[in-house]
């Protein structure tokens, strides 16, 4: 049987991080990008939890850390959605390519 080791978690997290990153780079919809960022943060969380389990099994450092990350991420999403609504009101679009007033 295949035992799940730390490496698997780390690889999973790396994959997830990369997927999130890919999404950030390619998605045009602001909400989608926001979600992709959440995916990246979740990759981080996987890492934290896995390390906590395998490396510091006695104190729950990583797990506590991940709780904080989740909380902050939630706040971030909240703010993000609010801003997206605000910008939609201004430009009637949530397409990131439309947001290039500020350049050079």
């Amino acid at each position: 049987m295949l035992t799940i080791s730390l490496t698997h978690y780390v690889v999973l997290s790396a994959l997830l991080f990369s997927i999130g990153l890919f999404g950030v780079l390619t998605k045009r919809n602001a909400v989608a990008v926001l979600i992709c960022i959440e995916i990246m943060l979740n990759a981080v969380n996987i890492n934290l939890v896995a390390f906590s389990k395998y490396i510091t099994p006695i104190d729950f450092t990583g797990q506590i850390f991940s709780l904080f990350v989740i909380t902050v991420a939630a706040a971030e999403v909240g703010i993000g959605l609010a801003i997206i609504i605000a910008i939609y009101r201004n430009k009637l679009s949530v397409n990131l390519d439309d947001f290039d007033w500020l350049k050079w």
Binding site: V24, L25, T26, F99, D100, K103, W104
Partner: protein, 644 residues
């Protein structure tokens, strides 16, 4: 007592005119007569002091061997006890400087006096006298200098005054250009002189004349013969321009643009003889270097002949006199070159009188003819201006070398000295020049003062301020030479280098020079006075038209310089300037522009697209990762310059 005072306070001689200069500039400028009186008075007082001092010198034979020197520190560098460079200023009185002092102040006094009449009613009357005073002061300073640098200072100041005075008629472009030419020409030569002085300072560690004299006498302790030769040649460069020797004589004839008293001052008493005087003062240097002496002699003889040939064809009265000055200075140089300080100084003395006389006479004529300078348009002036004319004739006789006028004795001394040294070619040149001198001088005299009167002219005799100097100088022109007859020569006793070297009276040479002079005057008489229509002269000019043109155009030397100045110097300047603004500045501006262009280029990355930013961010991550991987500890050592 007065003599003692004068000896100890000889510095007053240049100081008084200098004070007059200051006073005129700052105080008395609005009052013309007062300014003039100040100038004349100060110069006369200087003359008195100078004469007293000279009396003191010439009555005590010790001063010949051991000059009276008193000096003070001007500035010094390095440890006070043992300075690296110390320049003293002071007074050096010996027969040579005493004679010069008297001559300069005496002649200057009368030229100043003359100027009152000559400049009457001109603009800038007071300013003119202030310049004159400064000129006199500078020249006197030069004469009594005990230090070569002090002499150089005075030398340059003389040059400055000549600049100011030649260009005195500031509104005339020709005057402006002539003044500039005089200054720049002298400057070129001064470059050489300065190098010479620098070398002397560096090699011998002093510029005091007496010390230099002692050290150079055994120069082997300090330097090689080659270096010394170089120094001598460099020093001689200065006099070449200042005393109008070929090829830097070009400024002298142009200097006629100034008011006539200035020409007299420059040509007779002050500026041009400075060169001769300098060589005389540094005889100890030239004496050690026979080749340099040779150079001096040849330059002198050649210049004498060369200028005389030009003078034959000139038409302007002052130009003729100018070339005659150049020619006479050649004589003096020749005398120095053959080693006869005696003859040179003697000739300088007599020349001062008759040349000043002739210039002032010419000035008198010019005033009378309202500055019409062409001798061909004059004629018969003797009737209306007898004093001017007859004093001029005396000057003419003196310069032509007719005994017993002053010029005869001194010129004879030079010829004899040349012969005695065995320079036969130079002697021949000098003798021929004597003939030419008599010819062109009398050509001018006959054309201007005798013959038919020109009805267009309404000449009138000049006022007493002008004629009195003429008369006094005429006396000088007659009698100044009697002090130096071959039978009893004051100069030979008092003024010599090394040991007294006075050749015994050489009656052959004496006869020859008289014959030549008479022949010259005779030729002039036949061509220009007897032949009233001047047919022969015109025929000559046409027959030898090429030679005539060359002579009239002064061998095209001015044109050569002009070309050099415009084509070469200005062209080079232009090239330098263009190089500066396009290459040097181009690089500077290019660096600036490249910074701007880079900025603009980098700006393009800032597209405003969020996802581009993310992309760049991760490219950055990759680059940093690569850097981290490759710039490991081993490579983290200093890239440049760091020395632990």
């Amino acid at each position: 007592m007065y003599v003692e005072f004068a000896l100890q306070h000889a510095w007053l001689v240049p100081l008084l005119p200098a004070l007059a200069f200051v006073a005129i500039v700052f105080l008395t400028r609005p009052w013309q007569m007062l300014s003039a009186i100040l100038a004349v008075g100060s110069m006369a007082s200087s003359c008195v002091i100078a004469t007293l001092a000279a009396y003191g010198i010439f009555t005590n034979h010790e001063y010949v061997e051991k000059p009276l020197v008193y000096a003070t520190r001007w500035f010094s560098l390095g440890m006070p006890a043992m300075p690296d460079l110390q320049i003293n200023v002071g007074v050096q009185l010996d027969p040579v400087s005493a004679m010069m002092m008297v001559m300069v102040s005496f002649i200057s006094t009368f030229i100043f006096l003359y100027s009152i009449g000559y400049m009457n009613g001109e603009d800038g009357f007071s300013v003119f006298f202030s310049y004159l005073s400064l000129f006199g002061a500078s020249m006197l300073l030069l004469v009594i200098s005990s230090n070569l640098l002090q002499m150089f200072v005075a030398w340059e100041l003389v040059g400055l005054c000549s600049y100011l005075l030649i260009g005195f008629y500031t509104h005339k472009i020709s005057a402006r250009e002539a003044a500039k030419k005089a200054f720049v020409t002298c400057r070129i030569a001064d470059f050489g002189l300065l190098l010479g002085i620098l070398s002397l300072q560096i090699v011998f560690g002093t510029l005091n004349l007496t010390e230099l004299g002692e050290k150079i006498a055994h120069f082997e302790d300090y330097t090689t013969f080659g270096i010394l030769t170089m120094i001598a040649v460099l020093v001689f460069m200065g006099p070449i321009a200042k005393s109008g020797q070929f090829p830097l004589h070009v400024w002298l004839p142009d200097a006629m643009e100034g008011p006539t008293p200035v020409s007299a001052l420059i040509h007779a008493a002050t500026m041009v003889v400075a060169g001769v005087y300098l060589v005389g003062r540094t005889m100890f240097l030239f004496h050690e270097v026979p080749s340099a002496m040779e150079l001096v002699a040849v330059t002198g003889a050649f210049t004498a002949l060369f200028a005389a040939t030009i003078a034959i064809t000139q038409r302007e009265i002052k130009k003729i006199l100018a070339y005659s000055t150049v020619s006479q200075l050649g004589y003096m140089m020749l005398a120095l070159g053959v080693g006869s300080l005696t003859a040179s100084m003697f000739h300088m003395w007599t020349h001062a009188f008759f040349k000043a006389l002739m210039f002032l006479g010419a000035g008198s004529v010019l005033v009378a003819l309202h500055h019409k300078a062409d001798v061909w348009e004059m004629g018969g002036l003797v009737k209306k201006m007898p004093i001017t004319a007859w004093t001029f004739v005396i000057g003419g006789l003196a310069i032509a070398g007719i005994p017993p006028f002053a010029g005869f004795w001194s010129k004879d001394e030079i010829l004899v000295a040349t012969l005695a040294e065995g320079h036969y070619v130079l002697f021949a040149m000098a003798a021929f020049t004597a003939f030419l001198t008599a010819f062109y001088m009398w050509r001018m005299i006959f054309l201007a003062f005798f013959g038919k009167e020109n009805p267009a002219n309404h000449p009138k005799e000049s006022p007493w301020t002008m004629t009195v100097p003429l008369l006094v100088l005429a006396v000088g022109a007659i009698g100044a030479g009697w002090l130096g007859t071959p039978w009893h020569n004051v100069w030979a006793e008092w003024i010599y280098f090394g040991s007294p070297h006075h050749a015994a009276a050489n009656y052959g040479a004496m006869m020859l020079s008289v014959v030549l002079a008479v022949a010259g005057i005779g030729l002039a008489y036949t061509m220009y006075l007897k032949d009233t229509e001047k047919v022969k002269a015109k025929a000559m000019a046409e027959k030898y038209s090429t030679a005539y043109r060359v002579l009239v155009n002064k061998y095209y030397i001015d044109e050569l310089y002009l070309w050099f100045n415009h084509a070469l110097v200005d062209g080079a300047a232009k090239i330098f300037y263009l190089f500066d603004i396009y290459i040097v500045d181009g690089i500077v501006n290019g660096i600036g522009a490249s910074a701007k262009v880079t900025g603009e280029g980098l700006r393009v990355f800032q597209t405003g697209r969020l996802q581009n930013y993310v992309l760049i961010f991760f490219i950055g991550v990759l680059i940093v990762a690569v850097l981290m991987a490759f710039v490991g500890p081993s490579n983290a050592v200093p890239v440049m310059g760091g020395v632990k």
